[in-house]
Symmetry: C2
Subunit: 440 residues, 2 copies
């Protein structure tokens, strides 16, 4: 256990922020360390070149035709760390406090993929072999839309063929209540830039003449949502396929506003007025402004009218919605509503389609049994609000049955300051992976 902890902390120390070009060295060093680690536990490892960061692919030797083939997916890249000043300790200097490991990536996804690796390493060490043909796929661009991996799926199709695809990158309901995740939302994302002048201007001399890009931006973005919380872009909901009442019954749609308030210091006031929070969270498409920047918002004050203002927007999509179509609809809406004197550019950043698996599949049933036994508490089926953009492509390339599993809980602060993961849940994860592999 001490050796596992020390290796896990080593893994967390790489600042593998795929979104930040200045961390390129750290991302690559992380991939190399990981490949080496997987070799050492006895796997055959390949590092696949992509347009971006390498994909690490590991197997337990030539396939045994009598055994099922399982493709396990995770990623070694992590989210950026800002706002850095809200971290209680440096994000790449992991520390254990009260049974929780604090670090960027502690859960998402280094923690989850490392208990997966540990489960495999233990089985190999104790039994000398695995009960499945293993294909372990760990990429380095999940947090930047998996562009590299998506670009080589066709070319690697043969190697990716599998009976079962397990995405080990999701949450359960809470630390006591397990769940198999059957779907994840898709994503469309873009950068919007408004420009009003060649350079920044003085707000005394130019206030009341030039159209301030900050004003243009807030006026434009305010039009994206209606008072009732719906997205106002025409056609946005056209392709949304609603779940049937029978399907809705199979899944858990509970939501406790009191614990939401306690856990996040937030009120659940942001969704569509005629949908429940759990429905809004997982079964409805959304449009969120993830970033705003224009002029000077730091300490003190700067009386500037900025030359440009920028927003980052992402939409979560549900099955049947096409990311490219949604990007176009949003971009067209923004361009049509841009005020005079302002130049607009909208740059798509990439995305992926939503995926939905069946609760009746063999994989979903086995994962559910493994969870139920491990927790001593009935496993539920849920949908994830988040996105793992490459999933749809992986399903297609592998031809496999899909399920999402994990040991995350909603208070792990992933994508936020002070991300953490429970050391107890890490070892529950080891057992979960082993139990599923043995049942398949």
């Amino acid at each position: 256990m001490e050796k596992v902890l020390s290796d896990y902390l080593h893994f967390l120390r790489f600042a593998s922020v795929s979104a930040d070009p200045s961390q390129e060295y750290a991302v690559i060093a992380c991939a190399e360390w990981l490949a080496d680690y997987l070799s050492q536990i006895g796997l055959d490892v390949e590092s696949w070149e992509t347009s971006g960061y390498p994909v690490i692919f590991a197997t337990n030797g030539p396939p045994n035709p009598k055994l099922p083939t399982v493709l396990l997916y995770g990623h070694y890249d992590v989210q950026p760390t800002d706002p850095l000043d809200e971290w209680k300790s440096p994000p790449f200097e992991p520390r254990m406090d009260d049974g929780e490991i604090y670090a960027r990536g502690a859960q998402d996804n280094k923690g989850q993929i490392f208990y997966t690796i540990t489960a495999i390493a233990q089985l190999l060490k104790e039994k000398g072999s695995l009960p499945v043909n293993l294909k372990l796929l760990i990429e380095g661009e999940e947090e930047v839309k998996s562009t590299g991996l998506a670009g080589i799926l066709d070319q690697r199709k043969e190697q990716l063929k599998a009976d079962y695809l397990l995405i080990v990158d999701v949450e359960i309901i809470d630390a006591k209540t397990p769940a198999v995740t059957l779907g994840a939302r898709g994503m469309a994302s873009m950068t919007v830039e408004l420009r009003g002048s060649r350079t920044d201007l003085h707000s005394g001399f130019h206030g009341g003449i030039v159209y301030n890009p900050n004003h243009a931006l807030v006026e434009l973005l305010a039009k994206l949502r209606k008072e009732n919380g719906e997205v106002a872009v025409p056609g946005f909901y056209d392709d949304v396929k609603e779940l049937s009442e029978e399907e809705k019954k199979l899944i858990d749609l509970s939501f406790d506003p009191e614990s939401y308030r306690r856990n996040f210091g937030a009120e659940p006031t942001g969704g569509e007025k005629d949908r429940s929070p759990a429905e809004s969270q997982t079964l409805r498409p959304t449009l969120e402004i993830n970033g705003l920047a224009g002029g000077y918002a730091g300490p003190g004050f700067k009386t500037v009218i900025p030359a440009k203002a920028v927003a980052k927007i992402s939409c979560r999509l549900v099955p049947n919605q096409e990311p490219g179509k949604i990007e176009r609809l949003v971009a067209d809406f923004l361009k049509a509503n841009c005020p005079p004197g302002i130049e607009i550019s909208v740059t798509p950043i990439g995305g992926g389609k939503a995926v939905q698996a069946s609760p009746h599949s063999r994989l979903a049933q086995i994962a559910s049994e493994a969870y139920t036994e491990l927790f001593g508490n009935p496993c539920r089926f849920i949908y994830a609000g988040g996105s793992i953009p490459v999933t749809a492509g992986l399903v297609q390339a592998s031809g496999a049955e899909l399920a999402f599993i994990g040991m995350g809980v909603s208070t792990d602060n992933i994508h936020a300051p002070n991300e953490h993961f429970g050391w107890d849940r890490f070892w529950m994860g080891v057992k979960l992976i082993q139990s599923i592999l043995q049942r398949l």
Copy 2:
């Protein structure tokens, strides 16, 4: 001339950004250098302590009751430098290119105050004395609302008493067309912070539940202005005193959209629809968003719902408007319109009242004559769109007649990347100061 250039460049090398606490050392070093420099040219120098950065006050010895007393005002602090990546050379490494000196502060206000100092130094050197009782006041917080100087005006009232007050911190119409500035707008400014949750949240899991502070911010700020360009805050225009038609005739209200487009790469589409650009620019109050920040808007993408979003807002005010009242009106409007689930805080940053001087005063007439002779081109009267917040307090403390003079032009990029000032205009400024002092 070489010595003057070298001293001016030395002055520009101090990164005296009063808005940035991390530059405290540079601001203070700049003040000390300046005090020492003024001593060396033969003035009696005092450094006045304030709640913030020191005010440098220099005189030419005990007053001669037969001579008029002139208070000259400028500042040694400068604006922040971001966006830094749009500077063609580092902002605090001044360079001369094609007769222009490029640096933060090259014009505003180090360039303008340094030709003033040079004019005085030359007169002292050549004639041994000045034709006036000089009071030179150079503060270090003009760019952050002059809080320090404003706080000691009462206490320094006796020392500030003067017949004439010249604010050397404005622009002329263009490099060939001089103008005396008769008024400057006032200012009210504030920071608005919206908070939706305790920490940043993942937009997959929380999108469609929490009210994203970025959305709350754009929706709220979009309400501040009407479609016709008017400020929508109730009561905002209540105290505005319009100029009479006769007053309007005395001042230059020309505006050339073509040269505006050429100079700034901007269209004049931002003002009130039923006012001319020149009127909007100088005689009408404005409300501008000077800064926006929320979430992650840097390279790559971060699927975050930020815990908070921030805006910086400033209003330019015209005579008769009270900064405190305008701050309250705007804050009340924002609070009343803040959506459910979002906590709002509005923090006033400070401001100042607008000032307006008479075109018929002796000082305005003398400055006009000096400009006309120097340029060989009739001098006009204008109002400035900008603000020098402490002016109203200085007029009151000094009991002096007021005029604003300067050698800036609108293409100097003050408060913007690549600020610059013409070396020829620097020497015109030296002559202007000398000519005015000799005529008084």
